[in-house]
Symmetry: D2
Subunit: 307 residues, 4 copies
């Protein structure tokens, strides 16, 4: 046979599961989008169409919903660990399971201003508005022995309205850019960090707390860095997380430079003193890099944007 099969994986993608937990009258929501990808002894299904080793993608979907009941959803990471372990442990042909999860956050709707005629205090305990800021993401991979957990977020849009410069760069024959000594720096943060928890023997991180802290450090580093380049800001964001969270060894960012161009108002006899900007769509700068704990091998894939 002149052609052969290479790496392959399959499963049900984007299973939208919402889990309501009742603590008396107070309800809690977990709102996830779960994608399953399984690999293993799958040559036959590709070469001949024999499904003898194939657990249907429909079954992987059913398992997601059943596990939401059987195990609950303590965190996206813990839920993914339950799922990945199950597929690899229960199906001999499956050698590797990768679970990807998006999580959407909700917050409670504030009560009426003490207007007790309309509402009992219990009622608002089940009413929510979606936060709508970043999407939390997680990827859990298990090969029967070792775990890899990569978590992060995407679409967290941030802006510094000053304390950003850009000058001293290379100039070639195609360079027309003017140097900037006070510009807006804005980006949509996409970040993935890898935990050094890899084995059931190790103590598991507190996934919820770790996420909140990594997010906080990243935002603060963005805000507090006087920036000479988006690369410098990126590195500060990453090293702040590595230095603050011992459970995280590696982080990769993909940061578009959301250009805000100062509008030339001189034709209208007006001076634009860093006040009025045009927020551009395309093209945009795109800055991507990995920041690592010294001595650690990088594992997060380089490409967070698609070909």
């Amino acid at each position: 046979m002149p052609t052969i099969l290479g790496q392959n994986q399959y499963g049900k993608a984007e299973n939208r599961v919402v889990k309501i937990t009742r603590d008396g009258d107070t309800h809690h929501i977990k709102d996830l989008n779960v994608s399953v990808a399984l690999s293993g002894d799958m040559d036959d299904v590709h070469y001949s169409g024999s499904n003898a080793n194939v657990l249907p993608t429909d079954t992987t979907k059913n398992t997601v919903y059943a596990f939401a009941k059987e195990h609950g959803i303590e965190s996206a990471e813990q839920f993914g660990i339950h799922l990945a372990r199950h597929f690899v442990s229960s199906q001999e042909p499956i050698h590797r399971a990768r679970i990807r999860i998006e999580e959407y956050s909700w917050e409670r709707i504030a009560t009426s201003d003490g207007n007790s005629r309309f509402i009992g205090a219990d009622e608002v305990k089940h009413s929510f508005v979606r936060k709508g800021q970043e999407t939390r993401v997680s990827q859990i991979t298990y090969d029967g022995e070792n775990w890899e957990v990569i978590s992060g977020l995407k679409d967290l849009t941030v802006m510094n309205s000053t304390n950003s410069e850009f000058w001293g760069y290379v100039k070639d024959k195609y360079t027309t850019l003017k140097e900037a000594y006070d510009r807006i720096l804005a980006t949509d943060v996409s970040a993935r960090w890898r935990y050094n928890w890899t084995s059931d023997e190790q103590r598991m991180p507190n996934w919820e707390k770790s996420y909140e802290q990594a997010r906080k450090h990243m935002l603060q580093a963005f805000a507090e860095t006087y920036s000479l380049s988006l690369q410098q800001t990126l590195y500060q964001m990453g090293s702040r997380i590595i230095n603050s969270r011992s459970e995280i060894d590696e982080i990769r960012f993909s940061l578009p430079n959301n250009h805000h161009f100062l509008v030339d108002l001189e034709p209208f006899g007006l001076k634009n003193d860093n006040e009025v900007y045009f927020a551009a769509d395309r093209p945009y700068g795109l800055i991507e890099a990995t920041v690592l704990r010294d001595g650690v091998e990088p594992q997060i894939p380089v490409d967070m944007t698609n070909l």
Copy 2:
């Protein structure tokens, strides 16, 4: 000529303007997407291509940016009023101007936890994260005499995890739905409300406060209504606003019923006690209605979704 020209309008759409205002070291952001549509004496440009009456769309774009400097952006509505008045007043062939504005909200990034070595208090005064919840919208129309201001929001996703029922409905030969006595009620609120401010003689509403209050009342009505149908909830949301805000006479909603289907776990020997839901994409129920102050003529267009 067997064919004639009907209603027409033109202008530059989606001008993305970001305005930074400096109050000492504290910066403030207004982040808008402004669309201009002009109507008037425009037969010639359609019939013969004569542009003698046409102010270029490029000029309407320039005007948006120039006005951000000249007038500032106190509120989306006030900014739209400046623009609409300008086009109608300054260009004889233009008889009507309609300004549509989307506004994106930002909040400040919280400071480091008293870690004064890294950061001075001033630095965080220019750092922002986009809120990412609803998009605020506004439409300002002026014909040289009267104003129409319609404001609102879209993509505000809300959910009640209980206190919603649906039963007692019509059953025909195509009806298979089971009655529900405890279901999730979730929707993406799209709402437009019309102000009764129509003339420069009247006292102008406080646009910012009015928006915040209308949004608050709407959310509370959603949370506090024990719902027998999404229509009932919609009506409560609308009447709460009309009753609470004397400056608003009419509101129209377009509310998708974001179905959350209880997953059947019985095949797996599990009982699903209103815990595990599948969040569906399409199809979805779509409930649309206008709520009016009694005695008022409706003006908000019925179609908030496109053909």
Copy 3:
């Protein structure tokens, strides 16, 4: 009661129905997205939550699928007519039904080049690739007596690489645009045309042929008009349809001016002789107008873009 209910409608939106028809070994596809909106005696469900007059949206979904079997899908318009008639005729509280349909086109995959060892001629009769060009749309409304059928298309992207000028326009203090004597003219056509078929007494148009012809005339008018403004081109596109198709009385367009800016290559010592363009995203000009058969009243809603 200080607030009252205004116009309202409800139903199941975006029912994705695919119908396969077998003509021997040759299969045919109809691929639709059907949205149902019903109006009528619906005060109670809004005021009190009584569903006594409410046919569930779930039932409207079931009806779409059942009718695909019972009536087949001869055309989107004919299918919508069956549905609208059914809802108004069979349910006393329902006084008006509006069916909106999107249709996606497919074409056959070409056979192997006479390689008869691999494939019998029958096999390719069931293999399709989605055309991917415009989306065909239709809206059928019925009130028990009269019909309104509005059809059209969206997202048909066209470009003339020459024969477009723009000059002789108004210049005010905010005008900086240079006049153009040879520019690219490009747009994404969104068009809706209204048929003058309104009653079961009239002979029904051939919906499929009418669509193909209207589309063809529109494209040819775009290609063949030497344009002094996008408004002029729009009018030519509309009047060509009205003049060529007696079954169509009115058409409305929403045409973004997809700007292609000539890139200034002089800083690099290069002359750009209408060769290299930057295709911009936002902002864009937006030109909207109705073209009517003389003597006819316009009925297509003015707003094809959302507030």
Copy 4:
């Protein structure tokens, strides 16, 4: 320093360039979206913010437009080769350049049916409609010595309305799926193939012809395979390309299984004889695999979908 910098790259993404070439009155379009990513000696800009080695992303944008004039756009691949070579050759700190290109196809608008009063034959030579089917993609990487060219396409939606089965799979306690002996098989093809051209010494493939042929073979293999699983169809699509095109050594697919569920019409007394389907959105099966020429090392990254 406890943290270090890992892999990094930067550049301007999504430069939208449209090139018009004039062959007498006949115009030709190339419509590309070009993204530049450069790597090399970039430690300083991350650690200290020194831009001494940084060619601005704005300059990479300018270069894209200048090269469209200087070199023309013979094919996306050839254009990317010019760009990648330039950045690595002309800038000492840049050791690797990766150019990603999306290409949008256009076809000519058909002429009027011999209606010579309205149109000269020359006019339609400059009028185009966007094809709207797949997006062609290409990625060209150069490190100063070797080339890697990966091309392909995305969003090519195909369907077989019969000749697809799925049965004989693993059944565990979470399996409820019924076996299928005649189902619809539909997918949105995303494919990337790698050329074995790696050095300037080798004869370069005919990029345009190679793309057309690879696409044709892939579509035919999809149409002609009697499918027992989407994996089997995928493998046939890949091996058909490898076997037919000696310049291609490896191909990777990401194929969603676009589920079309047969609607249960029995509650309405109707039999659904593989006629009426519900086209589902989420979840969907996702089948991904690499097909290789025997003896070749895989290089295409495994992840074509994002974390």
